[in-house]
């Protein structure tokens, strides 16, 4: 697996709140940008994976691939899409697969959801009868367990928010650009879904992303700086549900991590940065533990001491992540990994940026509250 496939191009639109554009328009823009970056005509795209679910993209984008799939496992979809793209290339069905995402929830457009007011109950099932809706409440159940088991505090959650905002504050194009916050700001922000305050939560943003996945030798022809896929893996937290411990785990990370690192032939010490799926502050703490950057139960003190900061042992979410950057589902971590690995992060460029760990997480169900988890290891060398 390691180094045989690569991301030849990244097409990234503006990302932000109330852009006033439709989701499909953003996907079209993202695809155009990726094609321009690679110097390709649109007929080069012979596979199209829409990392969500909508059926009329091809006509609007003027594409004519061999196949077009909608793939949906929430925030794990981008990595699942890359894996599906590799599978189709290996199976001789395509050579250049576009993995595309674009939503505009703050402008009234979510693919396949004509009425945004209706989405709550659908994915939260029976718990919605009790007033439990939305990702914040689902993640709050994990945060509360972590606090109960390990004494994790609201201030430690706040440390994640403050550190990530500091990254975003110097990164143009993020929602947190030029707007640093303090721990006092975090502690003073209103409680939304206990134990999450407003500054523990990311917010929806509009934007489009497209990446072009192909064999590594083709990527080298097209790009001066291809980003190589070193390894990937997935896990489902239902395994912990069956054991009665789903809430003690953010996700079922162990099998995803093991497969990805085995494919890449590296260890944790080789990883220069973590780009973690972070809709809520607890997500960073629990994933830093599960991946082994911090001992179990010590994620809170680890972030309070700046372990996730630019000078810490594992710089994490170095453009502010979803919390302070923008929410492009599981593409948020992948985009920043590509930017860092190419050395394009400007004032936020890490001194050493050769291997990135990205994660994704999504498609929870109401009662079982279990998500898919995706691990993706990317590098600037094959």
């Amino acid at each position: 697996m390691r180094g045989r496939f690569a991301i030849a191009a990244l097409g990234l639109t503006e990302q932000g709140i109330r852009l006033g554009r439709s989701d499909r328009d953003l996907r079209g823009d993202a695809v155009e940008r990726a094609l321009r970056e690679a110097g390709l005509e649109r007929d080069a795209i012979d596979g199209y994976i829409h990392c969500w679910g909508e059926r009329e993209d091809l006509r609007y984008l003027g594409l004519s691939p061999n196949f077009s799939w909608a793939l949906s496992c929430g925030g794990a979809t981008p990595t699942a899409g890359i894996l599906a793209a590799i599978g189709m290339i290996e199976a001789g069905q395509a050579e250049m697969v576009a993995c595309v995402y674009g939503i505009a929830p703050t402008s009234g457009y979510i693919p396949g959801v004509p009425d945004l007011k209706s989405i709550g109950a659908h994915s939260y099932g029976y718990p919605s009868l009790y007033g439990m809706m939305g990702a914040a409440s689902a993640h709050a159940l994990h945060a509360r367990r972590h606090m109960h088991l390990f004494g994790t505090t609201s201030e430690q959650l706040g440390a994640v928010a403050v550190t990530q905002r500091a990254y975003a504050a110097v990164r143009p194009g993020t929602t947190g650009y030029g707007k640093p916050i303090t721990l006092a700001d975090h502690q003073g922000s209103p409680m939304i879904v206990d134990p999450f305050r407003r500054l523990d939560c990311c917010r929806d943003t509009d934007g489009g992303v497209a990446i072009l996945v192909c064999k590594a030798d083709r990527a080298r022809q097209l790009s001066p700086n291809p980003v190589y896929i070193l390894g990937a893996g997935m896990g489902q937290n239902i395994a912990n549900w069956h054991k009665g411990i789903p809430y003690d785990h953010h996700d079922n990370i162990a099998p995803a991590k093991a497969r990805a690192f085995a494919q890449a032939g590296i260890t944790l010490a080789d990883v220069d940065m973590a780009q973690l799926y972070d809709p809520f502050t607890i997500s960073v703490i629990m994933q830093l533990e599960a991946y082994g950057f911090a001992p179990e139960g010590h994620g809170g003190p680890f972030v309070a001491e700046g372990g996730n900061g630019p000078d810490g042992p594992i710089p994490t979410n170095t453009a502010g992540g979803q919390l302070s950057g923008f929410y492009a589902t599981g593409f948020t971590p992948i985009i920043e990994a590509i930017v860092q690995l190419r050395g394009q992060a400007g004032a936020g460029q890490l001194k050493k940026a050769d291997i990135a760990l990205c994660s994704g997480h999504g498609l929870n169900a109401g009662v079982q509250n279990s998500w898919n988890h995706a691990t993706l290891l990317l590098g600037n060398q094959p």
Binding site: Y130, M132, S137, L141, R144, M191, I192, G244
Partner: protein, 138 residues
Amino acid sequence: MSIDLAVIKNLGGDHLDLPFWEGARRGELLLHRCGICGKHYWPASRCVEHGGTDMAWVPASGRGTVHTYTIMHHAYAPRMAPHVPYCVAVLKLEEGPFFHTNIVDCPMEGIHVGLEVAVRFEEDEVSGLTLPVFAPVA
């Protein structure tokens, strides 16, 4: 009045869950039990060890402990608007399964992991269902 299957389907369930909601309407808390190993499930499930060959709805004790919880500071469901802030807890029922519910008759600051609770039933005008809710054991 029978349970409206459309309501159940809209909540992610199906006809296999109807006995549970019919039980709740009678004031009975039921769980789905594997007759081979005795493991209890909720909602309707196939046993992770034995599949669906011997699953049946059986009465539960109606007692459990708070495994985790959150306190909602906004009304995400119309029914809850008069109750903000309210608690959504995941219980570990005495028989083993998790169960999402509201903790009632308890100040928010009295709720903690490990709190022992017992079932009672409330009518929900929005869904037309009778909901099992839980209050601290006296």
